[in-house]
Subunit: 226 residues, 2 copies
């Protein structure tokens, strides 16, 4: 609830960020109808910038708007969540391949260091949740930007990840999954280090496939209800 805010960006940007994180974190539940004036008082904004932010969020598919009828947070069904992973599979596969061709040696070093820090975190057994939520995101983030494909990174970071994280927040991680995921990450990085784009793509696709199957299993078990 800090009143201090970066003055460099505009209020509309601020509203956009606030709403986006609120939706992703679940403070605004999926399917929830939200009034403009309520949001204004909640985030200390006026309706002008707010509406601009709402337009952007609608365009990104995080909420739906019906004329004169209000705006409500998008609710993604279980099937649609699975579909999201199918998209990630092909797009991040491409990102991994291009990253193998274009990442600098320095970036690869940083990537390895990131995985090392993740490993210690997991071994110390504190912060499994952190690893799953933020560490995994960090890894994929670096690959996306490392692809040097502006539009690809934009679509992954700006569209897909937010929708996935929106559900990952309420998704408890399976027992051995973080450790297994880390191993998969390591192999992907090694393929990138060897500049083997084809292998990196294959491994990344398999990695996301495994994550998808993990979620599918949970949904069938009824652990995750959407």
């Amino acid at each position: 609830m800090a009143e201090v805010q970066l003055q460099t960006q505009t209020r509309a940007d601020e509203a956009f960020d606030c709403l986006q994180t609120a939706i992703v974190k679940g403070d605004l539940a999926p399917g929830e109808k939200i009034g403009e004036v309520e949001l204004c008082s909640r985030f200390n904004l006026t309706r002008g910038p707010l509406r601009e932010a709402l337009g952007r969020l609608e365009s990104r598919g995080l909420l739906v708007r019906r004329p004169h009828a209000g705006v409500k947070v998008v609710s993604v069904s279980a099937d649609e969540l699975i579909e999201l992973y199918r998209i990630r599979e092909v797009m991040e596969g491409l990102a991994a391949r291009q990253a193998a061709e274009r990442m600098t040696d320095e970036e690869i070093r940083d990537l390895r260091a990131t995985l090392d820090s993740h490993e210690t975190m997991i071994e110390e057994a504190r912060g499994q949740a952190y690893y799953q939520a933020e560490g995994d995101y960090d890894f994929h983030h670096r690959i996306a930007t490392g692809s040097r494909n502006t539009k690809l990174a934009q679509m992954l970071l700006g569209d897909l990840y937010y929708m996935v994280r929106m559900y990952r927040y309420r998704l408890s991680t399976s027992a051995g999954r973080p450790h297994m995921a880390l191993g998969e990450h390591r192999r992907i990085v090694e393929a990138i280090a060897q500049r083997d784009g084809e292998l990196a793509e294959f491994l990344m696709k398999r990695h996301i496939n495994a994550a998808r199957q993990n979620i599918e299993k949970k949904i069938q078990e009824g652990v995750l209800t959407i």
Copy 2:
């Protein structure tokens, strides 16, 4: 310049459509800086709805905005155009595979009929440009929606195609390319009709790969300067 307009949608939607088509058609040149008041008088709007539309367009990557410094149409470099086709390759490959699994028999019939009409258009030699510009778009549009993957269709139809069409408008089609593209389309449809998702994906990826190479060649020849 028709004054009549659908009253069902809001002014912001109208502004969004107007600007989007203006950018795609080239009425607003890439890199061109545009003032808000000028746009208002040009499209008979006020600044409120206009700004909302600008926010949406920025979010989709069709224009960039610097705070207090104005907004200008995004200019995509030749390299970035190529990267767009790399993205299309994997995403439309996925779309073709899922379309093969999920399209109804009726949709497949319609798709075949569409290709037939394209064929007569090409043979009559009138409307090569039409085929390349709109017919091709029509084909890929149907595949995307036929995938039954909401987000995938949204990303293809809402993001990628507009950026591609923005440059296709000034791209003269190669001599024999439309006829060859039609043949590739036919083979993709047959794979879908046989419910062979793997093959459909492969053929679609190769199809877009060919289109990309066609553009790369033109850029190297200096025919297309971006």
